[in-house]
């Protein structure tokens, strides 16, 4: 489809699929798309992401998550832990696949290179591998035991970027966090972008392109699409909006109100951009 509305792109994601979501904690989360998934009522998603935050919290509040494979889930300072995720985890509604960031990375790297599994450095003395989807393999060259994790290939990588063209080439300024890896590990990519730029912009400095058109299924022009999370250097975390979300998301009714309240704005921004 490539150029898409928020609604069209959200419809690509089906119940029970595995998704990975760009950004980290409260930074450059494709928040408009995550809210749209919640509005669309998608259920049973498996989220794989080393460091989820606002995304996991919204999807947990929406009851959209079956499992989370993560190293750490938090909204970070000054907000603390992701409360809806925490509530769902403590109620046993979301299966937490206890992990470590570089082990989740290894599952995505294995997928990106078409390998069945990958070893993980470190983990000595940790009980995380014992309670999760890890296995011991003997290094055939040294005889030493090493922990390995399986490849996990998400159906979708959902990424919010600074700039994209309508073919799906995209730039991220500053750290891409895990987005480069996610775009290779997933079967297909859904982009939301602050700005749509002509392809010549990418051709002028192709070394800056983080996501290639070859990987991308849909491109949504979504200015402020990470709000209330931050997009460096364009906008910082909207602390008041984040606190309002945290207040409303304490109850199902409040969360529904949050989705409704933000719907007009999410869609208006995208229409204004179109």
């Amino acid at each position: 489809m490539k150029q898409a509305t928020l609604e069209d792109a959200a419809r690509l994601v089906r119940d029970g699929q595995t998704v990975t979501i760009g950004g980290t904690l409260s930074q450059r989360i494709p928040a408009a798309m995550v809210r749209e998934l919640a509005r669309a009522g998608v259920k049973g998603l498996h989220l794989i992401k080393p460091s989820p935050g606002f995304d996991a919290d919204v999807l947990a509040a929406a009851g959209a998550l079956a499992s989370v494979r993560a190293g750490m889930t938090t909204l970070e300072q000054p907000f603390g832990m992701a409360p809806s995720f925490r509530r769902a985890a403590e109620a046993g509604e979301v299966k937490v696949i206890e992990n470590a960031c570089p082990a989740v990375m290894a599952s995505l790297q294995a997928a990106a290179f078409g390998l069945p599994f990958q070893a993980v450095a470190g983990l000595d003395g940790s009980e995380v591998p014992e309670i999760s989807e890890f296995a011991r393999v003997k290094d055939p060259f040294t005889g030493d035991d090493v922990w390995v994790v399986p490849a996990v290939r998400p159906d979708w990588a959902i990424l919010h970027v600074h700039e994209a063209d309508l073919r799906g080439n995209a730039r991220i300024y500053g750290t891409p966090v895990w987005d480069r890896l996610m775009s290779r590990a997933a079967k297909r990519v859904i982009l939301t972008a602050e700005k749509i730029m002509p392809t010549e912009h990418f051709v002028a400095q192709p070394e800056l392109t983080v996501v290639s058109e070859l990987f991308v299924e849909a491109v949504v022009h979504a200015p402020m699409g990470a709000w209330p999370t931050a997009v460096y250097p364009d906008y910082d975390i909207d602390e008041a909006a984040m606190r309002r979300y945290l207040q409303l998301s304490r109850t199902p009714e409040g969360f529904r109100q949050y989705l409704d309240d933000t719907a007009a704005q999410d869609h208006a921004r995208i229409e204004a951009a179109a």
Partner: protein, 243 residues
Amino acid sequence: MSAAYAPADIMACAMARQIRNHEITFVGVNSPLPLAAVELARRHHAPLANFVSVGGGVNPKVERIIAATSSAELGRGSASIFDNQEVYGLNGRGGIDLTFLGMAQVDASGRVNSSYVGDRDQPKVRFPGGGGAPAILPKAKRAILWRAGHSKNIFVDKVEFVTSQGNLERIVTPLCVFRFENGALRLDSIHPNVTREELADKTGFTIPNLADAPVTPAPTDEELAILRAIDPDNVRRIEFGPQ
């Protein structure tokens, strides 16, 4: 004689004093205090310390301490950008000399639980998770943990679940600095104006050398001046909650 200072200030100083020129120090997410410590060290005794931030920077310019240390702000002024794969590659091949790591609980044997308490599938308390710590603690040459609280729920005799353990060197708290030696936590120093009784009362395990340990040197005027310059809004104290 030093000016008045908050627990966060002496913690930042205690952490900064462990940072050395030429070494590579890593600061991850949720780490305003370690960020303050690194910038203090760079402006004080370790101008040639290498600083890798999870925000993407390699020796970034830090003008102000920020709360969300995963921000790409911490790539500003850097000559290259490290994404998280780079960070864990560097860690995996043994390239991190010193790391600061947060944690939910730690026990007398220096084992960390940042995962959960209670039943695994329906835990009594769900913590954020260990992040990268299970792989960083064993691989970094030296690890310093910190926590902006000090209670028997945090410093426990034995954790129910071991999220991570490894090359732990010190733990910095609002009351003291612990040192990890021969498989056990010992008191490295107790902060000024903290009584040994109070420390024992708030610690869930027996501190072997409680009576003998020295007092943490108070922040110097120079250190405090730098902290105020880089953090006029006291963001480094944010983990202590509203003051």
